[in-house]
């Protein structure tokens, strides 16, 4: 047993200080962005991943994917299939 009576509080302070240091470092290195920019970056990455997934699932003619999702494509009425 290594934890003493105040070990939990110490761990909390340590974590908080590390987060603080990360933020200071990010600002110092000019890596910090505004919340709106962060949202746009995250959304852009998310949309790219979604777009790639949708393309592979619904439009790619790679045989393994096509054969597995053939019925799904036809079931969606607006997705072209060969």
């Amino acid at each position: 047993m290594t934890g003493g009576a105040g070990s939990y509080e110490n761990a909390f302070h340590l974590t908080w200080e590390m987060m603080l240091m990360e933020r200071i470092l990010a600002i110092w290195l000019r890596l910090s962005v505004s919340e709106q920019t962060a949202f746009l970056i995250k959304s852009g990455i998310f949309l790219s991943v979604c777009g790639a997934t949708l393309f592979v699932a619904l439009a790619a003619s790679y045989p393994a994917v096509h054969d597995t999702l053939h019925n799904v494509r036809h079931a969606l009425a607006v997705v072209p299939c060969h």
Partner: protein, 329 residues
């Protein structure tokens, strides 16, 4: 000289030139589908199509033949159907003999939209008539329901992401995901003629989605002078779906039957021809036709993918708005 005396020969001349077409209109052409058009859905079950040709007295004409051309619906404004290569193309073209004024066949309508069936009738005495039937096939409701559910799912996905991404934090971690997919799916087939009988030949051209293929059945008789009338039953089955996509039953043919038929789906089909000749054994020909599928054009894919991504974008916006509204309250 009174004006009416000049008008009489003019009317006579007009009647002389316009007379034959007016007589041609005396033939009436009726189209009946079983089940009725309102109940038809694309790629569900084959529809029984029946043409009835009657004279001016309402009685079916005894003999004659019809030329039939069936055209697929034209492409939609934004969304494509699930068979984009079929849109706006000729699906079927054939020449059928009339029996008691009727011509019957079965056909599986592949996509939603307005079909156009052009019919040219020639009776035994040479009287001609033409008519174009246009009928609209509605999409299967289950497909619209599935599409609606999928759309709601994408919106909710965007909504959840929008709420998660809206936080007063900085320094987003950047993940780069690159997915490269390649494809190679080519099926090539060669023309094949199966000759199961010594008395008949079934020939089907190499088939490809988007173009009509020639399907020909020919009776080969030892007598070169005259070929007997055969009652031909021709069916085309979609093997994967186990559906009949085309069929005629006991069609009287004088030694030969040919038509242009478009196979709507890139899959294997079985063409079976059974000919009954009075006083002769039944002749059966069968051929499995692999149909080459074509990858849909990018222009057909873009609208659907854009629509799905737009739903996610809407969800993202709604999720962010929801989170900001809650935190400001």
């Amino acid at each position: 000289m009174p004006l009416i005396s000049h008008a009489t020969p003019v009317f006579l001349i007009l009647f002389w030139f316009l007379g034959p077409p007016l007589w041609a209109e005396e033939l009436n052409i009726y189209l009946k589908t079983t089940p009725r058009v309102a109940l038809l859905r694309p790629f569900a079950d084959p529809v029984g199509m029946s043409l009835l040709v009657t004279g001016a007295d309402g009685r079916p004409i005894n003999q004659g033949h019809v030329d039939i051309r069936l055209d697929a619906p034209k492409p939609g404004r934004f969304f494509s159907t699930d068979f984009p290569f079929v849109e706006g193309t000729r699906l079927n073209e054939m020449h059928l003999g009339l029996r008691q004024g009727r011509a019957n066949w079965n056909y599986l309508l592949p996509i939603r939209g307005e079909y156009r069936l052009a019919v040219d009738v020639v009776s035994l005495d040479g009287t001609m008539a033409s008519k174009v039937f246009a009928f609209n096939i509605r999409e299967n409701e289950r497909k619209w329901f599935t599409l609606g559910g999928f759309s709601v799912g994408l919106f909710l996905l965007g909504f959840a992401a929008g709420r998660i991404f809206t936080q007063a934090r900085s320094a987003a971690a950047v993940f780069i995901a690159v997915a490269l997919l390649s494809e190679s799916a080519e099926v090539s087939t060669a023309q094949e003629i199966i000759k199961l009988s010594h008395t008949a030949v079934l020939e089907v051209e190499p088939a490809k989605v988007g173009t009509a293929t020639s399907v020909q059945w020919r009776l080969e008789s030892e007598s070169t002078h005259e070929k007997p009338t055969a009652f031909l039953t021709l069916t085309i089955n979609h093997l994967e779906k186990s559906k009949i996509v085309f069929g005629v039953e006991k069609l009287p043919v004088a030694g030969e039957f040919s038509m242009k038929f478009q196979f709507p789906d890139g899959a294997e089909y079985r063409v079976v021809a059974i000919a009954n000749i009075p006083g002769a054994p039944t002749i059966r020909n069968e051929q499995v036709v692999p149909v080459i599928g074509i990858e849909p054009p990018v222009t057909a894919m873009v609208p659907a993918l854009s629509y799905f991504l737009a739903l996610i974008v809407l969800g993202l916006g709604a999720g962010r708005w929801s989170k900001l509204r809650k935190s400001s309250a």
